[in-house]
């Protein structure tokens, strides 16, 4: 019996997560991996729960590889992981995490606790540390989850070694994040409606404006491409669970409130 531990079950089956590989990139003696975490993801609390959003661009160095990547991923009905970092590792982490939660629930006949879920992602990052330090697999995710006990959304961010930090209001990561971190702080401190008092529509507009701001100053973050119908991925988590904001709603709000003068 695996005691509800899906990662151990996979390992018994021969699966190796975070196994160090012979890397062509030597470790930087200063501890820098040289990796770009080229993206922008953010999560903040709004009136009904959590808003979590990410741009769609995937890059390799200065090359745009893909402009329709989904970096905000449903893990279960009440949890979402947004990824910044190496896509191969990040998507694999999301898959392991999703199976970990459902395997635990089905085998142990109860949901994994919120603390257990938060630690499960931390464990994956720790197991991936050798890869991250070799410069080939660093991931710095945001994990957002609805807590049924306190009936409130909670937001965590992680460093590439697995340290977890719970935030009070918002988290941003990725190469475009420094700019919008300041913008969001400014918004919460001095605007009439801080993010945690905003309704859903206001919060969606705020998330899109922040991502547009990040795209303005960070080439690795994509802005909206109306002609190609490319909009950010935006999800909400409330007491009903995870909801994905549909494309037509994003399109309408973008035209009306994010970039009304843009023809």
């Amino acid at each position: 019996m695996s005691g509800g531990d899906f990662l151990n079950l996979l390992k018994k089956d021969g699966y190796g997560f975070g196994t160090p590989a012979a890397s062509p990139y030597p470790m930087d003696p200063n501890g820098k991996t040289g990796l770009t975490s080229a993206t922008t993801i953010l999560a903040f609390k709004y009136k009904d729960g959590i808003m979590i959003a990410g741009d769609r661009r995937a890059t390799a160095g200065t090359t745009v590889m893909h402009d329709r990547a989904d970096k905000v991923i449903d893990i279960d009905r009440y949890a979402v992981m947004a990824i910044a970092g190496v896509p191969a590792t990040a998507f694999e982490m999301a898959r392991v995490l999703s199976h970990t939660f459902k395997y635990y629930r089905r085998s142990q006949l109860q949901d994994l606790s919120l603390e257990g879920k938060v630690r499960a992602l931390s464990r994956l990052l720790k197991e991936n540390a050798p890869m991250a330090l070799q410069g080939v697999g660093a991931v710095a995710p945001i994990f957002a989850v609805y807590d049924p006990l306190i009936k409130e959304g909670r937001i965590y961010f992680y460093d590439i070694l697995g340290a977890e930090f719970e935030v009070v209001e918002f988290a941003t990561t990725g190469s475009g994040s420094p700019g919008i971190r300041g913008a969001l702080h400014h918004h919460n401190k001095w605007s009439d409606t801080p993010a945690n008092e905003a309704g859903e529509e206001e919060a969606i507009v705020l998330a899109m404006r922040l991502l547009e701001t990040a795209a303005e100053f960070d080439v690795a973050t994509s802005g909206v491409k109306k002609a190609d119908n490319i909009f950010p991925t935006i999800k909400t988590i409330d007491k009903e669970g995870v909801h994905t904001v549909p494309l037509d709603r994003l399109n309408a709000l973008y035209r009306e409130k994010v970039s009304p003068n843009d023809v």
Partner: protein, 244 residues
């Protein structure tokens, strides 16, 4: 002792009698294709009888709780490793039964020096295009595929008592679950008692035992299509029996 073929056949036959005797007190499990998908119904006094196995697959069982648990863990592991390594759509009831459980259960049944699995189980799956797929697996490893209403009964007499209603229910797969619930509950109850005691038995079941009612439905949001009905939902469905 078992080196002579006759002795082995006799031992297997004795084992069959032993297993039938062990299973006869089991509480039945009903699986019913309906408009929403598949409805599963049972009642338990302690150990759970209906389980979520994978996104579109559920299991119901009669038998020794420890054996149910062992086999449940086997298919849970199989399903999740397969779903992760390949795809959730590669996890099917047929593969779990045919290549996982059935050979294992048959081997245990025929190795007469060891204990067999005291079990009879049912696997329900929302198959391709949401078509209901049901499998039964007996303690000897024999499995059968069905696509209509099915009752996992503790013995033949119990199955016979419910047969008429089950036949009617099989023709109503296009109706919503709420409309079929009363008949389904009666079919389940008849597998536990004689017709003249049915009303009293169902009322007592509602008072004394936990009703397990599960809906496998593609209308449920998210990848998992398994929904266990809450106490309130069950209370709504059983109002007519609970009134007095």
């Amino acid at each position: 002792m078992f080196e002579e073929p006759y002795r082995w056949v006799e031992a297997v036959s004795n084992r069959r009698e032993y297993l039938d005797e062990q299973l006869k007190a089991g509480s039945p499990v009903l699986a019913l294709p309906c408009r929403e998908g598949i409805f599963l119904l049972s009642a338990s006094s302690g150990t759970q009888k209906v389980y979520e196995i994978y996104d579109r697959i559920a299991m119901g069982a009669i038998g020794h709780p420890a054996d149910v648990e062992r086999l449940r863990n086997v298919i849970l592991d199989m399903a999740h490793v397969e779903g992760f390594n390949r795809s959730p759509s590669d996890v099917t009831a047929r593969r779990l039964i045919q290549f996982g459980l059935a050979p294992m259960v048959k081997t245990a049944f025929e190795e007469i020096a060891h204990a067999p699995f005291i079990i009879r189980l049912l696997i329900a799956e929302l198959g391709p295009a949401d078509a209901p797929v049901l499998y039964t697996l007996n303690y000897d490893g024999v499995f059968k595929e069905e696509h209509r209403a099915l009752l996992l009964a503790p013995n033949e007499e119990a199955a016979e008592r419910s047969a008429a209603i089950m036949k009617t229910l099989s023709k109503k797969a296009d109706r919503p679950m709420a409309e079929l619930f009363e008949e389904a509950f009666k079919a389940w109850g008849l597998a536990e008692c004689e017709a003249n005691k049915l009303e009293a038995h169902l009322k007592e079941t509602l008072k004394e035992r936990r009703i397990e009612a599960v809906l496998l439905s593609s209308a449920i949001p998210g990848p998992s299509k398994y929904h266990e009905l809450s106490k309130d939902e069950i209370a709504d469905l059983t109002q007519s029996w609970s009134a007095d």
